[in-house]
């Protein structure tokens, strides 16, 4: 078994115009930098991107916005991007805002083979418009829940810290975020990793994503790992 591809360009080779992609990361933390750059080089357009955020103007998904490759964003928070704002106002870009937990759970549901889930978030708000709702007595409380459908994506593109030839993945700290529920949530999952190791080198008890969820893996290069908000305290 060998899921290793030569690099980002090979990994994204069959992503075509109009595809629906999941892209891992929270803000700029844990984003699949190499694949985003490869998608920009490839020039595919009309993409629907499911991603918690939309990058910043010159990094992350912002790079794909600049080249007008994205038709629609499905996100929970998109505040850090002027390019995004101007394309949204001009009507070039569609955006579907989804509560963050619902976004993660709709990825998770796809990965777990469940077509929909009932969630409380958004009940009584405009997020509930057009959605089925139902009352459940659950965990000692009665409440209203909304039916939220699992995402149906063509490709899931995630970034992990370590991975092996079988596609087993390990994340690092808060870079795990959406990469975990997205890994395995689309027809094809592409994983880029900082370290590619041999099967057996990762303690089986430490694997976050079993390789069955990953179809392509490669060692990424030149990670910038840009920090969005550098906050520090003084020594002493």
């Amino acid at each position: 078994m060998n899921k290793v591809v030569s690099g980002a360009d090979e990994a994204v080779r069959d992503i075509e115009n109009g595809a629906t992609l999941m892209l891992g990361g929270f803000g700029l933390c844990g984003i699949p930098e190499n694949c985003i750059e490869a998608l920009v080089r490839k020039g595919v357009s009309g993409l629907t991107c499911i991603s918690n955020n939309a990058g910043v103007d010159d990094f992350g998904i912002g790079l794909m916005l600049k080249t007008r490759q994205v038709k629609k964003m499905i996100s929970s928070y998109v505040g850090e991007n002027a390019e995004f704002e101007s394309q949204l106002l001009s009507g070039e870009l569609e955006v579907d805002l989804v509560p963050q937990g619902t976004l993660a759970t709709r990825c998770m549901a796809a990965k777990y083979g469940m077509p929909a889930v009932w969630v409380k978030a958004g009940f009584g708000t405009e997020v509930a418009e057009g959605k089925e709702s139902r009352r459940f007595a659950f965990q000692g409380e009665e409440g209203h829940y909304l039916l939220e459908t699992a995402f149906n994506a063509d490709f899931s593109i995630v970034k992990a810290w370590k991975g092996d030839r079988f596609g087993n993945l390990v994340f690092r700290k808060t870079a795990r975020n959406f990469n975990d529920p997205m890994a395995g949530a689309a027809k094809i999952t592409i994983a880029e990793v900082e370290e590619l190791v041999e099967p057996g080198e990762i303690d089986p008890d430490h694997i976050h994503i079993p390789g069955i969820f990953v179809q392509r893996i490669f060692k990424g290069n030149n990670y910038e790992k840009r920090i969005e908000q550098r906050t520090v305290r003084k020594r002493g």
Binding site: G27, L97, Q100, G101, A104, V119, T174, F178, Q229, R230
Partner: protein, 219 residues
């Protein structure tokens, strides 16, 4: 009248030993600076962490370690990392004891609006809708009136809602209030030097004043 730090200090008095707490962006973040001695709380960051530590020392920043405000932070002994789905799973299942967040408006029924202003660029709700729908206990930290001088404590919210009937307590620069369904904003405490009259004038929703209203005890 309290400043932002004063509001944070007063809210910190609501923390109890053993609480798991989610702090929103803005004034709620400042609450972490005033956790009372002897009270151990674990901070949850919804991007996937329990046991959030302070900002790193200069040079120790780790791009793989941020909070929900995308700020660089640190871990503490006992920190646990997890993914976004599990993070909102623990929020949804009511494991987080207290959520503290900001608001643009709160209604006397406990509805909250804090994510969208019509005709302005909408950035998104982030995790706010999930948090307010699920948390057992929600405290709102906000200014009593907006920049135009209008009350943010209303009979009904005018802005698009984030959640319905969920706010339990509000701490502003003027007062501490409890939201009691079917009653309104029950005034619990006045900020130092603030009169009941001033609070009345700044509150558009139904204000319930029962007996003498004590002044907040800070420190």
């Amino acid at each position: 009248m309290l400043d932002k730090n004063g509001i944070a200090k007063r809210i910190a008095q609501e923390l109890r030993d053993g609480y798991y707490v989610n702090l929103g962006i803005g004034i709620p973040t400042l609450v972490a600076n005033y956790i009372p001695a002897g009270v151990n709380v674990i901070l949850q960051s919804e991007n996937g962490m329990l046991g959030m530590g302070p900002f790193p020392f200069e040079g120790d920043e780790d791009p793989d370690l941020i909070n929900a405000g995308k700020q660089t932070i640190t871990e503490i002994p006992g920190t646990a990392y997890f993914d976004s789905a599990l993070s909102f799973g623990m929020i949804r299942a009511g494991k987080v004891d207290l959520t503290i967040l900001g608001a643009m408006e709160v209604s006397e029924e406990g509805d909250i609006a804090n994510w969208k202003i019509p005709n302005k660029m909408v950035k998104g709700m982030g995790g706010a809708m999930d948090l307010v729908a699920a948390a057992k206990n929600i405290i709102v930290a906000m200014q009593h009136v907006n920049k135009a001088g209008e009350s943010k404590l209303l009979p009904k919210c005018s802005l698009p809602l984030t959640g319905v009937g969920c706010v339990k307590k509000i701490v502003t620069e003027l007062a501490v209030l409890e939201v009691v369904k079917g009653k309104g904003f029950v005034l619990l405490e006045r900020a130092p030097g603030i009169s009941v009259e001033q609070i009345k004038n700044a509150t558009a929703g139904r204000l319930i004043i029962e007996g003498d209203i004590p002044e907040m005890q800070l420190n």
